[in-house]
């Protein structure tokens, strides 16, 4: 903007950015960074609880509490597969393949819904509740926080899927798919970390 034009310019300064990373993608990554900090606080509580109680009882988790490791493993496979399907959807729209986009998003939504339903069923069958021990509280806290993110992700996926079937995305304009995909991968990565931390270690 020239000096003369700037003198008559009102409002915020003109937008300027480099092509290193587009502002919407940067915004999504900053949002995810804040989410990682939120998860980090829950992990801190979990590890503190584990370190504080492990030496006293000698067992982790406390005796009588069993984690559904196998079902969670199946859920992990479901979520990792959903990362593959959403990547397929994104790749498809970049190549102009609308059918691939629609199928990829619909499959991702169904896989995410399956994950969430399985987790809800497991909560009913797990045999302990939030008030039983500190482990139970942190277990439900971490997995519940992740479940809430899956729910948000499913809402985003539903909007993306509806938009895909209405033909809103094109090879040139598909930021909605790109950003939703990044969020879904984040949800997947967080689950892998939660699964390894809470169920396997």
């Amino acid at each position: 903007m020239s000096a003369a034009a700037e003198a008559h310019h009102h409002g915020p300064p003109p937008i300027h950015y480099s092509s290193r990373i587009s502002p919407p993608v940067l915004g999504m990554f900053l949002f995810i960074a804040s989410e990682i900090m939120l998860f980090g606080s829950f992990f801190t509580v979990y590890f503190f609880d584990r370190v504080a109680n492990h030496g006293v009882n000698g067992h982790w988790p406390p005796p009588g509490l069993h984690r559904p490791v196998f079902v969670a493993f199946i859920n992990t496979l479901i979520l990792v597969t959903s990362s593959g399907t959403i990547h397929w959807a994104t790749t498809s729209i970049k190549r102009g393949n609308r059918a691939g986009l629609q199928a990829g998003l619909a499959l991702t939504f169904l896989l995410g819904l399956t994950f969430l339903c399985t987790q809800v069923i497991e909560y009913h069958r797990i045999g302990f509740n939030t008030s039983d021990t500190s482990f139970a509280a942190t277990f439900f806290g971490l997995t519940g926080l992740h479940g809430a993110h899956v729910f948000v992700g499913l809402t985003i996926l539903l909007v993306m899927t509806i938009r895909a079937f209405r033909g809103h995305f094109s090879p040139e304009h598909h930021h909605g798919v790109e950003l939703g995909g990044i969020y879904w991968h984040f949800v997947d990565i967080m689950w892998i970390v939660v699964y390894v931390t809470v169920y396997l270690l």
């Binding site: 300027h16 940067l26 990547h87 950003l179 995909g181 990565i189 892998i192």
Partner: protein, 212 residues
């Protein structure tokens, strides 16, 4: 912004990296708890080291933009403090010859890393804009068809950005003499030659000698 992730594709491949990272930690943990901790520490260190290195590096992309219209010669000029130097102006006039020539000047907004992280780049952009305006004025005064823009603080990135909107036949990069030029210290000329499939002319402008 130097981010190791730029797209959904990058995030997708990160999912697989995280899976591999976690599998190795779990395997180590199952063998011995301390081994699991050691694997975690080593892998996390490697990941941080790789992330920092990749953040500093450039992706080697050799770009060959579509040629300009046949009746017009286009030159992309990248310069900041030396943007108004007489050597640069002379080189541009020589390159233009008698042809119809369009000049596009990119003036990177040079900002210190400290200011980048703790403040904004408004001041750097304002200084770059003032230099650019003066430079464009002097080019137009000798009859050159010149336009310009403020670019990314990294001159190589600024060239890449400019190539998306301006299709030059050649590049001219202007720097201070060796020993006083940060761009030369950072290998801007070599990196640009490696990255862009365009003829590149390096012009050295000695502002101190010009003033005396």
């Amino acid at each position: 912004m130097k981010s190791p992730f730029r797209s959904e594709r990058d995030a997708f491949w990160f999912v697989w990296l995280v899976i591999g990272y976690c599998v190795l930690i779990v395997v180590g943990y199952k063998i011995d708890h301390w081994l699991g901790l050691a694997v975690f520490v080593v892998l996390t260190g490697v990941a941080l080291w790789f992330g920092v290195l990749r953040g500093r590096g450039e992706r080697p992309i050799r770009q060959a933009p579509a040629p300009s219209p046949p009746d017009e010669h286009r030159i992309l000029v990248v310069a900041n403090e030396t943007v108004g130097g007489p050597e640069l102006l002379a080189e541009i006039r020589e390159r233009a010859g008698g042809r119809t020539t369009r000049i596009h000047v990119v003036s990177p907004a040079l900002n210190s890393p400290l200011k980048t992280w703790t403040s904004d780049e408004d001041e750097a952009r304002q200084i770059a804009q003032e230099r650019l305006d003066a430079s464009l004025g002097s080019m137009r005064s000798v009859g050159l068809d010149a336009s310009g823009e403020i670019g990314d603080g990294d001159p190589v990135q600024a060239i890449e950005d400019a190539l998306r909107t301006f299709r030059p036949d050649e590049l001219i990069v202007s720097t201070h003499p060796k020993g006083r030029s940060q761009w030369l210290e950072r290998g801007v000329i070599e990196r640009s030659r490696e990255r862009f499939a365009l003829p590149l002319t390096h012009v050295v402008v000695d502002l101190d000698a010009d003033r005396s």
